[in-house]
């Protein structure tokens, strides 16, 4: 029993390492979502108003929506190249529970495309005139929310991985699912701005994250099996 356990964790870490390695070699996977996020956020003041009062009001929402879009667009390549070169078949034929291997891929994807965006968010929050007392809540809520997005998006990507041209179908499937995260993420920031405690929202997001971590990889694994069939 212990022997199998160790190899499952070995397979988990091997997959994690491999995906990180691919991302660092390609670089685009890291840089593009990051750049996209910064550019989209910078467009809002130009489109709405340069007045800091109005920007303060929309800052949390703008940052959150831009993060959602960035993470959704970066999802596209999560299983795509693996599907095309046949690595996905090898993954499915592993004797280890697919749950952990899919989780490894999701974690690696988040580390590469989600985390950098979260880390740069205070800078953009400053540019959108968000009061500095809300930075902590913003980063914390994004830290909890972006992995949920990655995990949910992974299901949709897995379902559409076999499609030749996907176009906007990924957005149509994933974005409606992100509504609850968006609600709690922005409410957390807002409540800090109203000098209330955001702890309720943060703990709710924590619950959502733990539920997604335990269920979403199962759905992704099932979706991958369906798509590779």
């Amino acid at each position: 029993m212990t022997e199998k356990q160790t190899t499952t964790s070995a397979a988990f870490f091997a997959t994690l390492k491999r995906d990180l390695l691919i991302a660092f070699k390609k670089k685009n996977d890291i840089v593009n979502p990051f750049m996209f996020f910064i550019i989209v956020v910078s467009l809002f003041p130009i489109g709405i108003s340069p007045e800091s009062d109005r920007l303060t009001e929309i800052a949390a929402g703008v940052i959150w929506i831009s993060v959602l879009l960035a993470s959704m667009l970066s999802m596209d390549n999560l299983y795509r190249s693996d599907y095309e070169d046949g690595s996905l078949e090898q993954l499915l034929l592993s004797p280890h529970p697919l749950f952990f291997l899919v989780l490894a891929k999701n974690i690696s994807h988040w580390l590469v495309s989600g985390l950098p965006v979260v880390l740069v968010s205070p800078l953009l929050a400053y540019m959108l005139a968000l009061p500095s007392e809300a930075y902590g809540t913003l980063v914390l809520s994004l830290l909890l929310g972006t992995p949920i997005m990655s995990l949910l998006g992974s299901i949709a990507v897995a379902l559409t991985v076999g499609l030749g041209s996907r176009g906007l179908i990924l957005a149509v499937i994933t974005l409606p699912m992100s509504v609850p995260i968006l609600i709690f993420g922005t409410l957390a920031v807002q409540s800090t701005l109203n000098s209330q405690s955001p702890i309720g929202y943060i703990s709710l997001m924590l619950v959502m994250l733990s539920v997604s971590v335990s269920l979403a990889p199962l759905a992704s694994a099932a979706a991958l099996k369906i798509s590779v069939n």
């Binding site: 397979a11 390492k17 491999r18 070169d85 046949g86 090898q90 034929l93 592993s94 004797p95 280890h96």
Partner: protein, 218 residues
């Protein structure tokens, strides 16, 4: 369209049957690929699957691996259902399909480190030795997009050498290989059969392997 007769070798009295397929039926989009397909794959045998284009060779291979579940009939692994012993089946199985499972961004060593560790622990020496054996010495650290299709195929074949898997399922492994490569793969397959393993392979080559039996699809 037509059914294939069972093609077990006549002297399979003491051989253990590894994989047994009974009454396999598969239809894709209302077209029957095969029906009443029966065969046994004992230890120590190379089973070559032949058939014209579109006769369902690739589908059959994927069904046997569990990649495709749209079929009827039974497939048994040492006399038991595969679902009941999935872990043991998948650790004994090695599949190489049309898409060879080699990431173009990574080097051969990095590729093998991952794909082998999905099944069992592997050391870098093993990987280096295997790459040498498949004729990729000197390419260990070059990214795979600089390699030719045949060389990428060889990267995936290196897994055959490293892996202790007893059942190999190879779908058209010869297509991109040169004559030397073909001879090498035949040698490896023969070695596998002699060591008590089994190979299922689709190809149009006529193989020069003693342990060969042939299964014809449509």
């Amino acid at each position: 369209m037509s059914s294939a007769a069972p093609t077990t070798s006549p002297n399979s009295d003491t051989d253990k049957i590894m994989l047994a397929a009974r009454e396999l039926f598969c239809a894709r989009d209302e077209r029957v690929l095969f029906k009443n397909l029966n065969f046994d794959l004992p230890q120590g045998q190379v089973l070559q699957v032949q058939g014209s284009n579109g006769s369902g060779k690739t589908t059959l291979m994927r069904i046997l691996c569990g990649l495709n579940d749209s079929y009827e009939g039974s497939i048994k692994w040492y006399g038991q259902e595969i679902e009941d012993q999935a872990a043991s089946f998948f650790s004994s199985l090695l599949y190489i399909g049309h898409r060879v499972g080699v990431s173009k961004v990574l080097t051969p060593v990095e590729n093998l480190r991952w794909s082998c560790s999905l099944k069992q622990a592997v050391s870098d020496e093993q990987i280096m030795d295997a790459l040498k054996e498949v004729g990729l010495r000197g390419f260990e650290e070059s990214p795979c997009y600089t390699l030719s299709a045949g060389q990428q195929q060889r990267v995936s074949l290196a897994r055959l050498i490293i892996s202790p898997a007893s059942l190999w399922v190879l779908d058209e492994p010869f297509t991109t290989l040169d004559t030397k490569g073909v001879a090498m793969l035949e040698k490896i397959m023969q070695r596998q059969a002699q060591a008590g393993g089994a190979v299922m392979v689709t190809t149009h080559h006529s193989l020069s392997i003693a342990e060969l039996t042939i299964l014809s699809l449509g």
